[in-house]
């Protein structure tokens, strides 16, 4: 195998080029979805509200990965590490420093942004499989780092920390679960709007230029190093917020809830939702929350196999994930309007 063979990468990009207009939902659809998200909790049981909260939280984490992979074309298997940092920042601040839960969220976003940005620096030289390996190393190291002895005073070591669930403020007549749901919804909405605007901005265009062709982007004057690390930072910050919300919702953090399995789940969520399609993140989150439970209820012993088969079915039917369904739906509506 010679030393300088030329390999043409045509049509073999790791991440598909998704135009930025195709990354979001139309205004009408968004309003309908929002209305549903606002009204449904009033009519359902607390357990279902809790599951909806988790859906929002995982959706947020998948969205963060989507910005990184779908937006800037960098692949990460290390999202679970950022999620863990976010969760622990909130848990430690709430339990040891008595900081209000709402205040811990911007703090963990800032900490995770720094962490992601710094991690993005050495990762700059790596792409594709190599970046996957580097982020993977981060994900496998994180649970072990959290168990380290000299951190045990704050992190609680293997046992983890119990987090107190906040009550609804101002004497609002709602359950803790429902309050947490609306609180998470507000945070998720704010971040979703921020992400949509980010991708439409100058920075977003720079991300996409790097994703589509790094060399061409740098030739056009895009500061590749800056925007690649920035994408890592933003993605880590959003994942960190998801981690904080997750810690508050589950009321418990422990190193073993943030293993590489979490990162793989988030990755699957992104693929199922459609890489580069932000609203798909929440569809993907629904998949990774509900399908494993469904598989378990179909067959206890073979739950893994059932999950695998279901996953195969999804990627056969819609290789581009939920985005493909949305596009089909759009075309159908368009046709109906013409007639």
């Amino acid at each position: 195998m010679s030393a300088a063979e030329e390999v043409v990468a045509e049509g073999h990009e790791a991440v598909e080029a998704v135009p930025k207009r195709a990354m979001t939902l139309g205004t009408g659809t968004s309003l309908v979805v929002l209305a549903a998200l606002l009204i449904v909790p009033v009519f359902v049981k607390n357990f279902i509200i809790f599951q909806m909260t988790m859906l929002l939280i995982y959706g947020l984490a998948v969205l963060a990965l989507n910005i990184l992979t779908g937006g800037s074309g960098q692949f990460s298997l290390g999202q679970s590490a950022f999620y863990a940092v976010g969760a622990y920042v909130s848990a430690v601040l709430m339990e040891h420093a008595n900081v209000n839960y709402a205040l811990t969220i911007p703090i963990s976003a800032a900490v995770c942004f720094g962490f992601g940005y710094l991690f993005g620096k050495p990762a700059l030289r790596l792409s594709g499989v190599y970046l996957a390996l580097a982020t993977f190393a981060l994900a496998t190291a994180m649970p072990q780092l959290l168990k380290l002895n000299f951190l045990e005073h704050w992190t609680g070591g293997v046992q983890g920390l119990v987090v107190t669930k906040p009550d609804a403020p101002f004497g609002l007549p709602m359950s803790q679960d429902m309050w947490l749901y609306y609180f998470s919804l507000a945070v998720v909405l704010a971040i979703y709007i921020f992400s949509v605007n980010l991708l439409r901005s100058r920075s977003g265009r720079a991300f996409m230029a790097i994703r589509d062709n790094e060399i061409a982007a740098s030739a056009m004057g895009v500061d590749v190093a800056l925007y690649k690390t920035l994408a890592f930072g933003v993605s880590a910050a959003i994942t960190g917020v998801a981690g904080s919300l997750g810690a508050i919702a589950v009321q418990f953090v422990a190193p073993d809830s943030f293993t590489i399995n979490l990162a793989i789940s988030l990755f699957l969520g992104m693929v199922v939702g459609g890489v580069g399609w932000l609203p798909g993140s929440f569809v993907g989150a629904a998949f990774i929350i509900f399908v494993p439970n469904m598989a378990e209820s179909i067959s206890k012993g073979l739950s893994g196999a059932v999950f695998g088969v279901l996953l195969f079915l999804v990627i056969y039917l819609v290789p581009h994930g939920a985005r493909q369904v949305a596009i089909l739906g759009q075309q159908l509506v368009g046709k109906l309007r013409k007639n």
Partner: protein
């Protein structure tokens, strides 16, 4: 100094495991241009098949050959049935497919053979090798098999028509098709060979780590890391990477205080990443030039 040599020797012994798996990883990477996360599970399943054959009274080498045939055919069938329809789908969708395959094989093996740990025989015996307590004859045999496999692969790719065709199909599919190579079958062949090499790795590893459905998870990670370290395009690199990985891991465990079993892997990976930052294509990898 003696501690150091001993640890290096022990590292080479474990390194042989990783080298074997890394060869299978490079094989599939040559054929399909990405890493197959289900590779370890495929190897584990093949190893279980050989164990089952031996339970039914087939002698070791008979079971060995039958298992290789099974693994080769199995790899081709998996490619034809499951992944050929995804050939046009985005790469990340394919990766999701590998994860699905991982779940299916792992869970089926658990159901068929359950999760208890099983003894697995070795054809080389397990006496100390040349009077050394650190390397057993089995491990020496494993190193030998890995090297033979490497040579065989080298001759296959370098001196046979079909090896040449496979290389062509992997590096420039369009042009390969134009000169009449059936690239689609070359991919299937690559899957078959990778699966067979994985099966050899599995059967050699099983006496060391014992047979159970999760036996390959850790090994595959080290195999990936070794292949990446050596350069994903080079079988020789994979083997060297495997041995280095084993040595790294042992030395880290011995000389850096406070490193438990769990932190060994992250530290070894961190070392590899530092190597990659200096040499992005791996130690022996072919440098890939991108055309804009």
């Amino acid at each position: 100094m003696e501690l150091f040599t001993n640890q290096v020797l022990a590292g080479i012994a474990t390194g042989a495991i990783y080298a074997c798996m890394a060869l299978a990883v490079v094989m599939i990477y040559q054929a399909i241009d990405h890493l197959n996360f289900a590779q370890g599970e495929m190897a584990m399943f093949s190893t279980f098949i050989s164990w089952q054959l031996m339970q039914w009274g087939v002698p070791y080498w008979g079971a060995f050959v039958l298992t290789l045939a099974f693994a080769f055919a199995g790899g081709i069938v998996i490619e034809r049935v499951l992944f050929k329809p995804l050939a046009k789908a985005p790469i990340l969708t394919n990766v999701a497919g590998f994860i699905a395959l991982f779940a299916i094989i792992n869970s089926s093996a658990g159901l068929i053979w359950d999760f208890t740990i099983k003894q697995y025989p070795t054809p080389f015996g397990s006496a100390p090798f040349l009077g050394s307590q650190l390397i057993s004859t089995h491990q020496a045999g494993m190193i030998g098999v890995t090297l033979v496999l490497l040579l065989a692969l080298y001759f296959f790719f370098q001196y046979t028509r079909i090896g040449l065709a496979m290389r062509a199909a992997a590096s420039l599919p369009e042009s390969a098709r134009l000169v009449g190579i059936n690239t689609s079958w070359m991919i299937a062949l690559g899957w078959g060979m990778a699966s067979a090499i994985g099966a050899i790795a599995g059967m050699l590893i099983a006496p060391v780590v014992f047979l159970e459905p999760n036996m390959m998870v850790g090994v595959l990670l080290y195999g990936f890391a070794a292949a990446v370290l050596g350069g994903l395009t080079s079988p020789l690199g994979a083997v060297v990477g495997g041995f280095l990985m084993g040595i790294f891991e042992n030395l880290v465990g011995t000389y850096i205080p406070g490193v438990g079993n769990e932190l060994k892997l992250p530290i070894a990976l961190a070392l590899i990443i530092s190597v990659l930052v200096v040499k992005p294509a791996g130690l022996f990898g072919r440098h890939i030039v991108k055309r804009v």
